[in-house]
């Protein structure tokens, strides 16, 4: 783990924000948390089961999206939360339409 990633986790812990751990993501009560900070999905790669809820929390002052090319498109406004219930076909790569250098993946178990 990089120092930067470590710092981020320490920082988040200090802010009393409870998040899925940095590298892997675990569904707690069927919810998988993805933070958006500094123009990145954290963690970028998640695994989920059908019916789990993915919850993106946008901590940036910029609007972002979680977009699947030729598929679904979820807008996550600055400072807000957006969710998706995982479907069977959701093993996907997704990106932000506004900032396509932001990418993530979902793998359905």
């Amino acid at each position: 783990m990089t120092t930067r990633a470590l710092n981020r986790r320490v920082f988040l812990a200090a802010g009393a924000v409870v998040l899925a751990s940095g590298g892997r993501s675990r569904a707690h009560n069927g919810t998988i948390h993805v933070s958006i900070e500094n123009l990145a999905f954290v963690p970028a790669n998640i695994e989920a089961a059908v019916g789990d809820r993915i919850e993106w929390t946008n901590r940036d002052p910029f609007d972002h999206t979680a977009t699947v090319k030729g598929g679904w498109d979820i807008v996550i406004p600055a400072g807000q939360v957006a969710t998706r219930i995982v479907q069977a076909g959701d093993t996907v790569e997704y990106y932000c339409r506004f900032h396509p250098n932001m990418t993530g993946t979902i793998k359905v178990r």
């Binding site: 500094n38 123009l39 990145a40 002052p61 910029f62 609007d63 600055a78 932000c96 339409r97 506004f98 900032h99 396509p100 250098n101 932001m102």
Partner: protein
């Protein structure tokens, strides 16, 4: 250094940033803050022109996101300079950027319809590329204050995202 800048940059940025090329002439933090802020304002003004002129939904949405993002990052920049008690300092680079942008806006203002859309988006691709190159080769390495450097790094990721977004829109206009 001059050669690197020449290779990396085009247009107005080439001439104005070349002035800073020798190491001892690198821009100061107050100048860097001013340049970064000015670069954002320029893109906001171009976007407002596009919002008023374009009939293409994708182009208008792109322009709207440029206004929102650059305004948000400039609010962060103003908060930071206030916190650091730094007064952004006008400089030849900012002035040359503003002048080049005014000329570009005048040029775009004469175009209509699809010709406008194409010229605006092509310029957005080129402009963000130039700003990214300037951030990477000059502004970020020159910044002394860690928080300013960090904000510029966020700015770089944002501008890189905008460049790709603009490239996607450009591809869809063809």
């Amino acid at each position: 250094m001059k050669t690197i800048l020449k290779a990396a940059l085009g247009g107005a940025f080439l001439f104005v940033l070349a002035q800073f090329a020798p190491a001892q002439d690198k821009p100061s933090d107050p100048q860097i803050a001013h340049i970064a802020y000015t670069a954002g304002v320029i893109d906001i003004e171009a976007a407002k022109l596009a919002i008023s002129k374009s009939k293409n939904t994708e182009v208008v949405e792109f322009a709207q996101s440029m206004v929102k993002d650059h305004e948000a990052v400039n609010v962060q920049a103003l908060d930071l300079v206030k916190k650091l008690n730094v007064t952004p300092e006008d400089n030849p680079t900012s002035q040359a950027l503003t002048k080049a942008a005014e000329e570009k806006r005048a040029e775009l203002g004469k175009l209509e319809g699809a010709a406008f859309d194409k010229a605006y988006i092509d310029n957005e691709v080129a402009y963000h590329k130039q700003v990214n190159d300037a951030l990477q080769t000059l502004l970020i390495p020159s910044a002394e204050n860690a928080e300013l450097k960090s904000l510029l790094e966020t700015g770089l990721k944002l501008f890189q995202g905008h460049q790709q977004h603009a490239e996607h829109v450009a591809a869809s206009l063809k």
